[in-house]
Amino acid sequence: MSNVKVEEKLFQNRYRVDVGRPHVKIKDADICSNACAQQQCTVCCPAGCYTVEGNGRVVLISDGCMECGTCRIICDEHRNLEWQYPRGGYGILFKFG
Protein backbone atom coordinates (compact mmCIF):
# COMPACT_ATOMS: atom_id res chain seq x y z
CA MET A 1 0.00 0.00 0.00
CA SER A 2 1.19 3.46 -0.78
CA ASN A 3 2.03 5.20 2.44
CA VAL A 4 -0.23 8.16 2.03
CA LYS A 5 0.40 11.39 3.83
CA VAL A 6 -2.72 13.15 5.00
CA GLU A 7 -0.94 16.49 4.57
CA GLU A 8 -0.94 15.94 0.81
CA LYS A 9 -4.69 15.50 0.87
CA LEU A 10 -5.29 18.50 3.13
CA PHE A 11 -3.11 20.58 0.85
CA GLN A 12 -6.00 20.55 -1.65
CA ASN A 13 -8.39 22.07 0.87
CA ARG A 14 -9.13 25.71 1.55
CA TYR A 15 -8.88 27.08 5.09
CA ARG A 16 -9.05 30.41 6.83
CA VAL A 17 -7.14 29.72 10.00
CA ASP A 18 -8.07 31.78 13.06
CA VAL A 19 -4.47 32.32 14.13
CA GLY A 20 -3.96 32.02 17.87
CA ARG A 21 -7.55 30.99 18.52
CA PRO A 22 -7.82 27.22 18.07
CA HIS A 23 -11.43 26.00 18.29
CA VAL A 24 -10.47 22.64 19.81
CA LYS A 25 -8.32 22.36 22.92
CA ILE A 26 -7.12 19.50 25.09
CA LYS A 27 -8.36 20.26 28.59
CA ASP A 28 -5.73 18.39 30.58
CA ALA A 29 -2.67 17.05 28.77
CA ASP A 30 -1.85 14.71 31.67
CA ILE A 31 -5.05 12.76 31.13
CA CYS A 32 -3.99 12.01 27.54
CA SER A 33 -0.49 11.02 28.62
CA ASN A 34 -1.33 9.00 31.70
CA ALA A 35 -4.97 7.96 31.83
CA CYS A 36 -5.76 7.27 28.17
CA ALA A 37 -4.39 3.94 26.97
CA GLN A 38 -5.59 3.99 23.37
CA GLN A 39 -5.08 7.65 22.46
CA GLN A 40 -7.50 6.85 19.68
CA CYS A 41 -7.75 10.48 18.50
CA THR A 42 -4.30 9.96 17.00
CA VAL A 43 -5.79 7.20 14.81
CA CYS A 44 -9.33 8.38 14.10
CA CYS A 45 -8.92 12.07 13.26
CA PRO A 46 -9.38 12.20 9.48
CA ALA A 47 -7.10 15.21 9.26
CA GLY A 48 -4.35 13.74 11.44
CA CYS A 49 -4.52 16.71 13.81
CA TYR A 50 -3.43 14.60 16.79
CA THR A 51 0.05 13.15 17.08
CA VAL A 52 1.69 11.36 19.94
CA GLU A 53 5.21 12.31 20.95
CA GLY A 54 7.91 9.98 22.25
CA ASN A 55 7.07 10.75 25.86
CA GLY A 56 3.40 9.78 25.32
CA ARG A 57 2.21 13.34 25.14
CA VAL A 58 -0.64 13.98 22.65
CA VAL A 59 -0.16 17.13 20.61
CA LEU A 60 -3.07 18.81 18.85
CA ILE A 61 -2.60 21.15 15.91
CA SER A 62 -6.05 22.01 14.67
CA ASP A 63 -5.13 23.98 11.52
CA GLY A 64 -6.16 21.14 9.17
CA CYS A 65 -9.36 20.35 11.07
CA MET A 66 -12.41 19.64 8.92
CA GLU A 67 -14.74 20.23 11.90
CA CYS A 68 -16.27 16.76 11.71
CA GLY A 69 -16.50 16.17 15.48
CA THR A 70 -14.91 12.72 15.55
CA CYS A 71 -12.33 13.54 18.24
CA ARG A 72 -14.93 14.97 20.60
CA ILE A 73 -17.28 12.02 20.28
CA ILE A 74 -14.68 9.25 20.64
CA CYS A 75 -13.20 10.92 23.72
CA ASP A 76 -16.18 9.56 25.64
CA GLU A 77 -14.30 8.07 28.58
CA HIS A 78 -12.38 11.19 29.54
CA ARG A 79 -14.30 14.02 27.86
CA ASN A 80 -10.97 15.78 27.67
CA LEU A 81 -11.68 18.17 24.80
CA GLU A 82 -13.03 21.66 24.70
CA TRP A 83 -14.66 21.60 21.27
CA GLN A 84 -16.37 24.50 19.57
CA TYR A 85 -16.97 25.54 16.01
CA PRO A 86 -14.55 28.21 14.81
CA ARG A 87 -15.64 31.82 14.82
CA GLY A 88 -17.93 32.70 11.93
CA GLY A 89 -16.11 32.61 8.59
CA TYR A 90 -13.02 30.80 9.91
CA GLY A 91 -11.89 27.19 9.62
CA ILE A 92 -12.44 24.84 6.71
CA LEU A 93 -14.10 26.33 3.63
CA PHE A 94 -15.22 23.52 1.38
CA LYS A 95 -14.93 24.24 -2.32
CA PHE A 96 -17.14 21.31 -3.32
CA GLY A 97 -18.24 19.71 -0.07
Binding site: C44, G88, I92, F94
Partner: protein
Amino acid sequence: MREQFDAIVVGAGAAGNAAAYTLAKAGLKVLQLERGESPGSKNVQGAILYSDALERMIPDFRDDAPLERHLIEQRMWVLDDASFVGTHYRSDDFNKPPYNRYTIIRAQFDKWFSQKVQEAGALLICETTVSELLMDGERVIGVRTDREGGEIYADIVILADGVNSLLATKAGFHDEIAPKNVALAVKEIHFMPQETIESRFNVSGEAGVVIEMAGKITKGMMGTGFLYTNRESLTIGVGCMLSDFKKQKITPYQLLEQMKQHPSIKPLIEGGEMKEYTAHLIPEGGYKAVPKIYGDGWMIVGDSGMFLNAVHREGSNLAMTTGRTAAETVIDLKNDGKPLDAKHLAVYRSKLEDCFVLKDLKKYKNLHQVFHANPYFFNTYPELINQAMHELIKVDGIDKKTKEKNIRSNFTRRRSVFGLVGDAYKLWRAFE
Protein backbone atom coordinates in the same frame (compact mmCIF):
# COMPACT_ATOMS: atom_id res chain seq x y z
CA MET B 1 -33.64 48.09 20.56
CA ARG B 2 -34.28 44.39 20.97
CA GLU B 3 -34.42 42.69 17.58
CA GLN B 4 -37.28 40.19 17.43
CA PHE B 5 -37.99 37.71 14.63
CA ASP B 6 -40.80 35.25 14.09
CA ALA B 7 -38.21 32.53 13.59
CA ILE B 8 -34.47 32.03 13.71
CA VAL B 9 -33.06 29.16 11.68
CA VAL B 10 -29.55 28.06 12.66
CA GLY B 11 -27.72 26.65 9.66
CA ALA B 12 -28.06 26.91 5.89
CA GLY B 13 -27.80 23.27 4.87
CA ALA B 14 -30.56 21.18 3.34
CA ALA B 15 -32.76 21.17 6.46
CA GLY B 16 -32.19 24.80 7.41
CA ASN B 17 -32.84 26.03 3.90
CA ALA B 18 -36.03 23.99 3.63
CA ALA B 19 -37.27 25.41 6.94
CA ALA B 20 -36.30 29.01 6.19
CA TYR B 21 -37.72 28.82 2.67
CA THR B 22 -41.09 27.49 3.84
CA LEU B 23 -41.37 30.02 6.68
CA ALA B 24 -40.39 32.98 4.51
CA LYS B 25 -42.76 31.92 1.72
CA ALA B 26 -45.59 32.07 4.27
CA GLY B 27 -44.65 35.65 5.06
CA LEU B 28 -42.95 35.15 8.41
CA LYS B 29 -40.04 37.32 9.50
CA VAL B 30 -37.13 34.88 9.31
CA LEU B 31 -33.48 35.22 10.22
CA GLN B 32 -31.11 32.48 9.09
CA LEU B 33 -27.61 32.26 10.57
CA GLU B 34 -24.76 30.41 8.86
CA ARG B 35 -21.24 30.04 10.22
CA GLY B 36 -19.61 29.46 6.83
CA GLU B 37 -18.46 32.26 4.54
CA SER B 38 -21.33 31.25 2.26
CA PRO B 39 -24.03 28.56 2.44
CA GLY B 40 -22.44 25.20 1.69
CA SER B 41 -18.91 26.07 2.70
CA LYS B 42 -19.21 23.91 5.83
CA ASN B 43 -21.34 21.17 4.34
CA VAL B 44 -20.37 17.75 3.05
CA GLN B 45 -22.49 15.14 1.32
CA GLY B 46 -21.96 12.20 -1.10
CA ALA B 47 -23.98 13.70 -2.73
CA ILE B 48 -27.31 12.51 -4.07
CA LEU B 49 -30.33 14.79 -4.31
CA TYR B 50 -33.74 13.14 -4.27
CA SER B 51 -36.08 15.23 -6.39
CA ASP B 52 -39.27 14.47 -4.50
CA ALA B 53 -38.41 16.30 -1.26
CA LEU B 54 -37.25 19.44 -3.11
CA GLU B 55 -40.03 19.35 -5.67
CA ARG B 56 -42.61 19.70 -2.93
CA MET B 57 -41.19 23.12 -2.15
CA ILE B 58 -39.73 24.26 -5.46
CA PRO B 59 -41.54 22.39 -8.25
CA ASP B 60 -39.46 23.98 -11.01
CA PHE B 61 -36.06 23.50 -9.36
CA ARG B 62 -34.72 21.78 -12.47
CA ASP B 63 -34.84 25.09 -14.38
CA ASP B 64 -31.84 26.59 -12.63
CA ALA B 65 -30.52 24.32 -9.85
CA PRO B 66 -26.91 23.21 -10.31
CA LEU B 67 -27.38 19.49 -10.89
CA GLU B 68 -24.63 17.13 -12.00
CA ARG B 69 -26.05 13.89 -13.46
CA HIS B 70 -29.43 12.20 -13.18
CA LEU B 71 -28.99 8.62 -12.08
CA ILE B 72 -30.01 5.79 -14.33
CA GLU B 73 -28.01 2.98 -12.81
CA GLN B 74 -27.45 1.72 -9.29
CA ARG B 75 -24.69 -0.79 -8.63
CA MET B 76 -24.30 -2.63 -5.34
CA TRP B 77 -21.05 -4.42 -4.78
CA VAL B 78 -19.93 -6.83 -2.09
CA LEU B 79 -16.16 -6.82 -2.13
CA ASP B 80 -13.45 -9.25 -1.23
CA ASP B 81 -9.79 -8.21 -1.43
CA ALA B 82 -9.48 -8.66 -5.19
CA SER B 83 -13.03 -9.24 -6.41
CA PHE B 84 -16.64 -8.21 -6.00
CA VAL B 85 -20.05 -9.80 -6.40
CA GLY B 86 -22.67 -7.30 -7.35
CA THR B 87 -25.98 -6.34 -8.78
CA HIS B 88 -26.60 -3.59 -11.28
CA TYR B 89 -29.99 -2.04 -11.78
CA ARG B 90 -30.22 0.15 -14.85
CA SER B 91 -33.43 1.42 -16.29
CA ASP B 92 -34.28 3.64 -19.22
CA ASP B 93 -37.28 4.78 -17.20
CA PHE B 94 -34.81 6.62 -14.96
CA ASN B 95 -33.49 8.26 -18.11
CA LYS B 96 -36.78 10.02 -18.84
CA PRO B 97 -37.67 13.37 -17.30
CA PRO B 98 -38.67 14.34 -14.72
CA TYR B 99 -35.64 12.66 -13.23
CA ASN B 100 -35.88 11.05 -9.80
CA ARG B 101 -32.37 11.45 -8.42
CA TYR B 102 -29.33 13.54 -9.24
CA THR B 103 -25.76 13.80 -8.11
CA ILE B 104 -24.97 17.29 -6.86
CA ILE B 105 -22.01 19.24 -5.54
CA ARG B 106 -23.11 20.63 -2.22
CA ALA B 107 -21.15 23.88 -2.21
CA GLN B 108 -22.86 24.84 -5.47
CA PHE B 109 -26.27 23.43 -4.68
CA ASP B 110 -26.50 25.04 -1.25
CA LYS B 111 -25.71 28.45 -2.71
CA TRP B 112 -28.53 28.02 -5.20
CA PHE B 113 -30.99 26.85 -2.53
CA SER B 114 -30.00 29.74 -0.30
CA GLN B 115 -30.65 32.18 -3.13
CA LYS B 116 -34.22 30.84 -3.28
CA VAL B 117 -34.54 31.24 0.49
CA GLN B 118 -33.45 34.86 0.27
CA GLU B 119 -35.74 35.55 -2.69
CA ALA B 120 -38.58 34.17 -0.54
CA GLY B 121 -37.79 36.94 1.94
CA ALA B 122 -35.60 35.44 4.66
CA LEU B 123 -32.66 37.44 5.96
CA LEU B 124 -29.43 35.42 5.77
CA ILE B 125 -26.36 36.35 7.76
CA CYS B 126 -23.20 34.33 7.06
CA GLU B 127 -19.91 34.10 8.95
CA THR B 128 -21.84 34.01 12.19
CA THR B 129 -21.53 31.16 14.65
CA VAL B 130 -24.31 30.70 17.16
CA SER B 131 -22.61 30.06 20.49
CA GLU B 132 -25.64 29.26 22.62
CA LEU B 133 -29.38 29.45 23.00
CA LEU B 134 -30.94 32.20 25.09
CA MET B 135 -33.33 30.78 27.64
CA ASP B 136 -36.10 32.15 29.78
CA GLY B 137 -36.54 29.31 32.23
CA GLU B 138 -37.34 26.28 30.08
CA ARG B 139 -38.18 28.32 27.03
CA VAL B 140 -35.80 29.20 24.21
CA ILE B 141 -36.22 32.87 23.39
CA GLY B 142 -33.33 33.50 21.01
CA VAL B 143 -29.67 32.91 20.26
CA ARG B 144 -26.32 34.38 21.19
CA THR B 145 -23.86 34.68 18.32
CA ASP B 146 -20.13 35.36 18.18
CA ARG B 147 -20.74 38.84 16.84
CA GLU B 148 -20.62 41.86 19.09
CA GLY B 149 -23.98 42.52 20.70
CA GLY B 150 -25.04 39.36 18.97
CA GLU B 151 -28.16 38.52 20.93
CA ILE B 152 -31.18 38.00 18.74
CA TYR B 153 -34.68 36.99 19.76
CA ALA B 154 -37.44 34.98 18.09
CA ASP B 155 -40.67 33.16 18.85
CA ILE B 156 -39.11 29.94 17.64
CA VAL B 157 -35.52 28.77 17.08
CA ILE B 158 -35.12 25.98 14.54
CA LEU B 159 -31.89 24.08 15.02
CA ALA B 160 -30.51 22.94 11.67
CA ASP B 161 -26.95 23.03 12.98
CA GLY B 162 -25.89 19.66 11.65
CA VAL B 163 -24.88 16.26 12.92
CA ASN B 164 -22.84 17.49 15.89
CA SER B 165 -25.94 19.18 17.31
CA LEU B 166 -23.82 21.26 19.64
CA LEU B 167 -26.50 23.77 20.58
CA ALA B 168 -29.05 21.22 21.78
CA THR B 169 -26.33 19.33 23.66
CA LYS B 170 -25.15 22.51 25.34
CA ALA B 171 -28.71 23.41 26.29
CA GLY B 172 -29.16 19.96 27.82
CA PHE B 173 -31.88 18.87 25.37
CA HIS B 174 -29.98 15.66 24.71
CA ASP B 175 -26.75 13.93 25.72
CA GLU B 176 -23.48 14.04 23.81
CA ILE B 177 -23.67 11.80 20.73
CA ALA B 178 -22.53 8.21 21.30
CA PRO B 179 -19.84 6.77 19.00
CA LYS B 180 -22.19 3.93 18.05
CA ASN B 181 -24.70 6.37 16.60
CA VAL B 182 -22.52 8.13 14.05
CA ALA B 183 -20.38 7.05 11.13
CA LEU B 184 -17.28 8.89 10.02
CA ALA B 185 -17.07 9.21 6.25
CA VAL B 186 -14.08 10.49 4.30
CA LYS B 187 -14.22 11.26 0.63
CA GLU B 188 -12.34 12.79 -2.27
CA ILE B 189 -13.42 14.46 -5.46
CA HIS B 190 -11.46 13.56 -8.60
CA PHE B 191 -11.81 15.58 -11.76
CA MET B 192 -11.51 14.10 -15.24
CA PRO B 193 -12.90 14.80 -18.71
CA GLN B 194 -16.61 14.24 -19.18
CA GLU B 195 -15.94 11.75 -22.01
CA THR B 196 -13.73 9.64 -19.76
CA ILE B 197 -16.50 9.33 -17.19
CA GLU B 198 -19.06 8.52 -19.86
CA SER B 199 -16.99 5.76 -21.43
CA ARG B 200 -15.92 4.26 -18.11
CA PHE B 201 -19.46 4.10 -16.77
CA ASN B 202 -21.27 3.44 -20.04
CA VAL B 203 -23.45 6.53 -19.93
CA SER B 204 -24.01 9.47 -22.23
CA GLY B 205 -25.32 13.00 -21.99
CA GLU B 206 -26.19 13.87 -18.42
CA ALA B 207 -26.92 10.35 -17.20
CA GLY B 208 -24.95 8.94 -14.29
CA VAL B 209 -24.20 5.92 -12.14
CA VAL B 210 -23.83 5.29 -8.42
CA ILE B 211 -21.93 2.41 -6.89
CA GLU B 212 -22.60 1.49 -3.25
CA MET B 213 -20.13 -0.95 -1.74
CA ALA B 214 -19.76 -3.14 1.31
CA GLY B 215 -17.32 -5.79 2.37
CA LYS B 216 -13.59 -6.06 2.91
CA ILE B 217 -12.96 -2.39 2.09
CA THR B 218 -14.10 -1.53 5.64
CA LYS B 219 -11.78 -4.12 7.26
CA GLY B 220 -14.57 -5.70 9.26
CA MET B 221 -15.95 -2.38 10.47
CA MET B 222 -19.66 -1.66 10.03
CA GLY B 223 -19.66 0.64 7.06
CA THR B 224 -19.90 1.17 3.32
CA GLY B 225 -18.08 2.75 0.44
CA PHE B 226 -19.39 4.69 -2.51
CA LEU B 227 -18.46 6.03 -5.91
CA TYR B 228 -20.68 8.60 -7.58
CA THR B 229 -20.44 10.15 -11.02
CA ASN B 230 -20.70 13.90 -11.36
CA ARG B 231 -20.52 15.77 -14.64
CA GLU B 232 -16.76 16.19 -14.74
CA SER B 233 -15.74 14.51 -11.53
CA LEU B 234 -16.15 11.42 -9.40
CA THR B 235 -16.64 11.36 -5.67
CA ILE B 236 -15.27 8.36 -3.87
CA GLY B 237 -15.57 7.73 -0.18
CA VAL B 238 -15.85 5.30 2.67
CA GLY B 239 -17.59 5.54 6.02
CA CYS B 240 -17.65 3.37 9.15
CA MET B 241 -19.26 3.61 12.55
CA LEU B 242 -17.18 5.63 15.00
CA SER B 243 -17.55 2.90 17.62
CA ASP B 244 -15.73 0.58 15.19
CA PHE B 245 -13.12 3.15 14.17
CA LYS B 246 -12.42 3.52 17.86
CA LYS B 247 -11.41 -0.10 18.24
CA GLN B 248 -8.78 -0.43 15.52
CA LYS B 249 -5.60 1.14 14.19
CA ILE B 250 -6.29 2.13 10.59
CA THR B 251 -6.65 5.84 9.97
CA PRO B 252 -9.66 6.96 7.90
CA TYR B 253 -7.42 8.20 5.08
CA GLN B 254 -5.50 4.91 4.96
CA LEU B 255 -8.82 3.11 4.67
CA LEU B 256 -9.82 5.35 1.76
CA GLU B 257 -6.42 4.94 0.13
CA GLN B 258 -6.63 1.15 0.34
CA MET B 259 -10.14 1.20 -1.10
CA LYS B 260 -8.88 3.26 -4.05
CA GLN B 261 -6.29 0.56 -4.74
CA HIS B 262 -8.90 -2.20 -5.07
CA PRO B 263 -8.46 -3.74 -8.56
CA SER B 264 -12.16 -3.21 -9.37
CA ILE B 265 -12.12 0.44 -8.29
CA LYS B 266 -8.68 1.67 -9.32
CA PRO B 267 -9.29 1.69 -13.09
CA LEU B 268 -12.48 3.71 -12.63
CA ILE B 269 -10.74 6.62 -10.90
CA GLU B 270 -7.38 6.41 -12.67
CA GLY B 271 -5.97 9.66 -14.02
CA GLY B 272 -8.33 11.87 -12.06
CA GLU B 273 -7.09 15.03 -10.40
CA MET B 274 -7.95 15.09 -6.70
CA LYS B 275 -9.14 18.56 -5.77
CA GLU B 276 -10.61 18.17 -2.30
CA TYR B 277 -10.51 15.79 0.63
CA THR B 278 -13.41 15.98 3.07
CA ALA B 279 -14.62 14.31 6.24
CA HIS B 280 -18.01 14.39 7.87
CA LEU B 281 -20.06 12.51 10.43
CA ILE B 282 -23.24 10.77 9.37
CA PRO B 283 -26.01 10.29 11.94
CA GLU B 284 -26.72 6.58 11.51
CA GLY B 285 -28.16 5.74 14.92
CA GLY B 286 -31.62 5.20 13.47
CA TYR B 287 -35.05 5.41 15.06
CA LYS B 288 -33.99 4.67 18.62
CA ALA B 289 -31.31 7.36 18.54
CA VAL B 290 -33.63 10.19 17.47
CA PRO B 291 -33.46 12.71 20.35
CA LYS B 292 -36.16 14.97 21.66
CA ILE B 293 -36.86 17.17 18.64
CA TYR B 294 -39.02 19.96 20.04
CA GLY B 295 -39.65 21.89 23.21
CA ASP B 296 -40.76 25.33 24.34
CA GLY B 297 -39.62 27.65 21.57
CA TRP B 298 -37.32 25.22 19.75
CA MET B 299 -37.27 22.45 17.17
CA ILE B 300 -34.58 20.24 15.67
CA VAL B 301 -34.44 19.38 11.95
CA GLY B 302 -32.10 17.41 9.66
CA ASP B 303 -28.89 15.67 10.73
CA SER B 304 -29.08 17.34 14.12
CA GLY B 305 -32.14 15.16 14.84
CA MET B 306 -30.56 11.92 13.51
CA PHE B 307 -32.90 12.02 10.52
CA LEU B 308 -31.05 9.71 8.17
CA ASN B 309 -31.85 6.38 6.58
CA ALA B 310 -28.53 4.53 6.55
CA VAL B 311 -29.91 1.48 4.75
CA HIS B 312 -31.12 3.38 1.72
CA ARG B 313 -28.40 6.04 1.85
CA GLU B 314 -31.02 8.78 2.19
CA GLY B 315 -30.32 11.93 4.15
CA SER B 316 -30.85 15.14 2.24
CA ASN B 317 -34.50 14.24 1.57
CA LEU B 318 -35.12 13.57 5.26
CA ALA B 319 -33.37 16.86 6.03
CA MET B 320 -35.55 18.81 3.61
CA THR B 321 -38.72 17.06 4.70
CA THR B 322 -38.11 17.63 8.41
CA GLY B 323 -37.18 21.26 7.70
CA ARG B 324 -40.35 21.82 5.70
CA THR B 325 -42.54 19.96 8.22
CA ALA B 326 -41.16 21.93 11.17
CA ALA B 327 -41.84 25.15 9.30
CA GLU B 328 -45.37 24.11 8.38
CA THR B 329 -46.06 23.25 12.01
CA VAL B 330 -44.96 26.73 13.06
CA ILE B 331 -47.01 28.40 10.32
CA ASP B 332 -50.18 26.49 11.31
CA LEU B 333 -49.79 27.31 15.01
CA LYS B 334 -49.12 30.97 14.25
CA ASN B 335 -52.21 31.15 12.04
CA ASP B 336 -54.30 29.62 14.82
CA GLY B 337 -52.83 32.05 17.33
CA LYS B 338 -51.44 29.24 19.47
CA PRO B 339 -48.21 29.39 21.47
CA LEU B 340 -45.06 27.70 20.15
CA ASP B 341 -44.57 25.56 23.22
CA ALA B 342 -43.79 21.87 23.68
CA LYS B 343 -47.45 20.95 23.98
CA HIS B 344 -48.39 22.48 20.63
CA LEU B 345 -45.17 21.63 18.78
CA ALA B 346 -45.74 17.93 19.53
CA VAL B 347 -47.68 17.84 16.28
CA TYR B 348 -44.29 18.12 14.47
CA ARG B 349 -43.23 14.72 15.81
CA SER B 350 -46.57 13.12 14.95
CA LYS B 351 -46.42 14.51 11.41
CA LEU B 352 -43.02 12.87 11.00
CA GLU B 353 -44.33 9.59 12.44
CA ASP B 354 -47.06 9.68 9.79
CA CYS B 355 -44.76 10.21 6.83
CA PHE B 356 -41.83 8.32 5.35
CA VAL B 357 -39.29 10.02 7.64
CA LEU B 358 -40.02 8.14 10.85
CA LYS B 359 -41.90 5.28 9.18
CA ASP B 360 -38.72 4.29 7.34
CA LEU B 361 -36.48 4.75 10.38
CA LYS B 362 -38.90 2.65 12.42
CA LYS B 363 -38.87 -0.11 9.83
CA TYR B 364 -35.15 -0.60 10.36
CA LYS B 365 -35.05 0.12 14.08
CA ASN B 366 -33.35 -3.22 14.92
CA LEU B 367 -30.92 -3.27 12.05
CA HIS B 368 -28.38 -1.20 13.86
CA GLN B 369 -27.91 -3.59 16.78
CA VAL B 370 -27.89 -6.62 14.50
CA PHE B 371 -24.99 -5.30 12.45
CA HIS B 372 -23.15 -3.97 15.48
CA ALA B 373 -23.22 -7.39 17.10
CA ASN B 374 -22.26 -9.27 13.94
CA PRO B 375 -19.08 -8.17 12.22
CA TYR B 376 -19.38 -11.29 10.00
CA PHE B 377 -21.67 -9.32 7.75
CA PHE B 378 -18.86 -6.95 6.83
CA ASN B 379 -16.00 -9.41 6.70
CA THR B 380 -16.73 -13.14 6.64
CA TYR B 381 -19.77 -13.13 4.38
CA PRO B 382 -18.33 -10.89 1.67
CA GLU B 383 -15.37 -13.26 1.57
CA LEU B 384 -17.54 -16.40 1.50
CA ILE B 385 -19.86 -15.07 -1.19
CA ASN B 386 -16.96 -14.04 -3.40
CA GLN B 387 -15.24 -17.39 -2.93
CA ALA B 388 -18.47 -19.19 -3.78
CA MET B 389 -18.83 -17.24 -7.02
CA HIS B 390 -15.22 -17.90 -7.87
CA GLU B 391 -15.63 -21.63 -7.29
CA LEU B 392 -18.79 -21.74 -9.41
CA ILE B 393 -17.39 -19.81 -12.33
CA LYS B 394 -13.88 -21.21 -12.51
CA VAL B 395 -13.63 -24.16 -14.92
CA ASP B 396 -11.03 -26.58 -13.66
CA GLY B 397 -12.24 -30.11 -14.35
CA ILE B 398 -13.98 -30.48 -10.98
CA ASP B 399 -17.62 -31.57 -11.29
CA LYS B 400 -20.33 -29.14 -10.24
CA LYS B 401 -21.71 -31.27 -7.43
CA THR B 402 -18.32 -31.40 -5.74
CA LYS B 403 -17.98 -27.66 -6.23
CA GLU B 404 -21.32 -27.07 -4.52
CA LYS B 405 -20.25 -29.33 -1.67
CA ASN B 406 -17.00 -27.37 -1.31
CA ILE B 407 -18.91 -24.12 -1.15
CA ARG B 408 -21.30 -25.48 1.47
CA SER B 409 -18.54 -26.83 3.65
CA ASN B 410 -16.66 -23.54 3.32
CA PHE B 411 -19.72 -21.72 4.72
CA THR B 412 -20.32 -24.16 7.58
CA ARG B 413 -16.62 -24.27 8.45
CA ARG B 414 -16.50 -20.51 8.82
CA ARG B 415 -19.84 -19.92 10.51
CA SER B 416 -21.29 -23.35 11.53
CA VAL B 417 -24.80 -24.43 10.58
CA PHE B 418 -26.31 -22.77 13.63
CA GLY B 419 -24.37 -19.63 12.94
CA LEU B 420 -25.67 -19.47 9.38
CA VAL B 421 -29.28 -20.05 10.39
CA GLY B 422 -28.97 -17.53 13.20
CA ASP B 423 -27.45 -14.92 10.90
CA ALA B 424 -30.21 -15.45 8.33
CA TYR B 425 -32.81 -14.98 11.06
CA LYS B 426 -31.10 -11.84 12.33
CA LEU B 427 -30.93 -10.40 8.84
CA TRP B 428 -34.59 -11.10 8.30
CA ARG B 429 -35.43 -9.44 11.63
CA ALA B 430 -33.32 -6.44 10.72
CA PHE B 431 -34.94 -5.81 7.36
CA GLU B 432 -38.42 -7.16 8.21
